[in-house]
Amino acid sequence: MLNISEIRKQFPILSRKVNGTDLVYFDNGATTQKPQVVIDVVNNYYANENSNVHRGVHFLSGLATDKFEATRDIIQQFIGAKHKHEIIFTKGTTDAINLVANGFRSLLNKGDEVIISELEHHSNIVPWQMCCDFTGATLKVIPLLDDGSLDMITFKKLLSENTKLVSVAHVSNALGTINPIEEIISNAHKVGAKVMIDGAQAASHIPLDMQKLGADLYCFSAHKMYGPTGVGVLYGTDEMLNALPPYQGGGEMIKEVSFEKTTYAELPHKFEAGTPNIAGVIAFKNAIEFITGLGVENIAKYEDELLQYATAEILKIEGVKIYGTSKNKSGIISFNIEGLHPYDIGVIVDKMGIAIRTGHHCAQPIMERFNIPGTARISVAVYNTKEEIDVCINAIKKAKMMLS
């Protein structure tokens, strides 16, 4: 059992007021709040440790480098990667996908196919459109069923020897659907395709084991896992990452540079050009420790309780429709109320100190699929409580009364 009130005490922002009342934060899908330890480590880095990594012979540079690499170690363990050099630091999920999509420009040809799905975040759509435009490859889309799950029958029909890559989200940020990625990976591998998983909405909610999962590439953002913004991870198998050309050129990623010929550094440095977000990477370790300290399984179980409770409560409001009703769901509730615009709901509940997300959630194809302008979205994290859900549901009821 998690002690939620103890957990809440670690997040200073949770005791602030918004519009005169206690903040209720249900926009965790966009970004989670940060525990004090993460904030302290960022501060301490700049106050006492600031130095560039992998470069200097001096004391501080060594210290910063050791701490930076310690985060790589803990992430390797956290996601069950075989090798440390399979962990690449990026700016975030978007950056990781762009790194890979850019690399696939050299691996794809006309006639090749890339498969994504209808529930992807724009950051797992647009890079592939750009890649396909560049290479002449074709982009195929796995359609959604009415409950917001992937149409796996059509997916299997889309697969062929032309399929070179399948890139899908582990969890949909707009619907909460947990996709059957094991099944996707094994089917894609049967036709020789590589698989990339966008784990932005999964990494702090679902236990991960890369070696068991068998994905070729997997990525996520620290800021959605109680860590700093501007830091993300691209995991790739040693084989896959060696097959991809470097993304950005610059310092750190080279072995030798001359005007005649430059050779690239080994993994992971080949993909880490330029000075990274050192403070962010170092503090990301503390965010991971926060998660593992509680246990991902325990977090998942508690968040599922919140999801079930909130779903039941919200369905009591007349005219509510939830988008994303598949059996396998993470802590995200996307909904509309008949006759009301989600923007109006968001504005009114904000006045009561409640942060929910409204709009298309960077997933316009989903909105088109369901023929709606957007939804209101509640997304939970481990520090949320049933009491907060009650406050939120009451606010939504009040908004409904005012608006209809």
Binding site: N19, Y343, D344, G359
Partner: protein, 138 residues
């Protein structure tokens, strides 16, 4: 006909009476409901101002030297603010509209609704109202 400044003073007075945000938003919602909707035939793609979240349609006509605006939005709070903007600017001459300073926005505590980051289309709407006026102002 009252001047644009006089209308703004009245709106500021109206909003000054509200004691809390709820009264203010209820009033906005009422204004939104009462807004004479734009003629369906003017609800075109060309007249659509795309905010990321709520959409606004704006149409302008030049009648007897004055500009008459009609508009609509799919979100009711946005619509309420649209109604206020129309009550301030519609029915005035192009030069009055071009030169109008919309000070009331800061005074009535709805600045956040009219910030460019709100993505509700209202900032673009004001700009578009002025652009129409500019077009007739010669």
């Amino acid at each position: 006909m009252r001047t644009i400044s006089e209308i703004q003073v009245e709106i500021i007075e109206d909003f000054g009476m509200f004691e809390d945000w709820m009264q203010k938003y209820e009033y906005l919602i009422d204004l939104g409901k009462e807004l004479t909707p734009i003629d369906e035939k003017h609800k075109t793609e060309d007249n659509l101002i795309k905010g990321c979240q709520s959409r606004v349609w704006l149409h302008a006509e030049h009648i007897d030297g004055k500009i008459i605006y009609t508009a609509n939005s799919d979100a009711i709070i946005t619509k309420g603010i649209v109604a206020i903007l129309i009550s301030v600017l519609s029915g005035h001459t192009p030069s009055e509209i071009v030169n109008a300073k919309l000070d009331f926005i800061n005074e009535i505590g709805l600045k956040e609704q009219l910030s460019p980051t709100r993505a509700n289309g209202l900032v673009s709407m004001i700009k578009q109202m002025k652009i129409y006026a500019l077009a007739y102002n010669n």
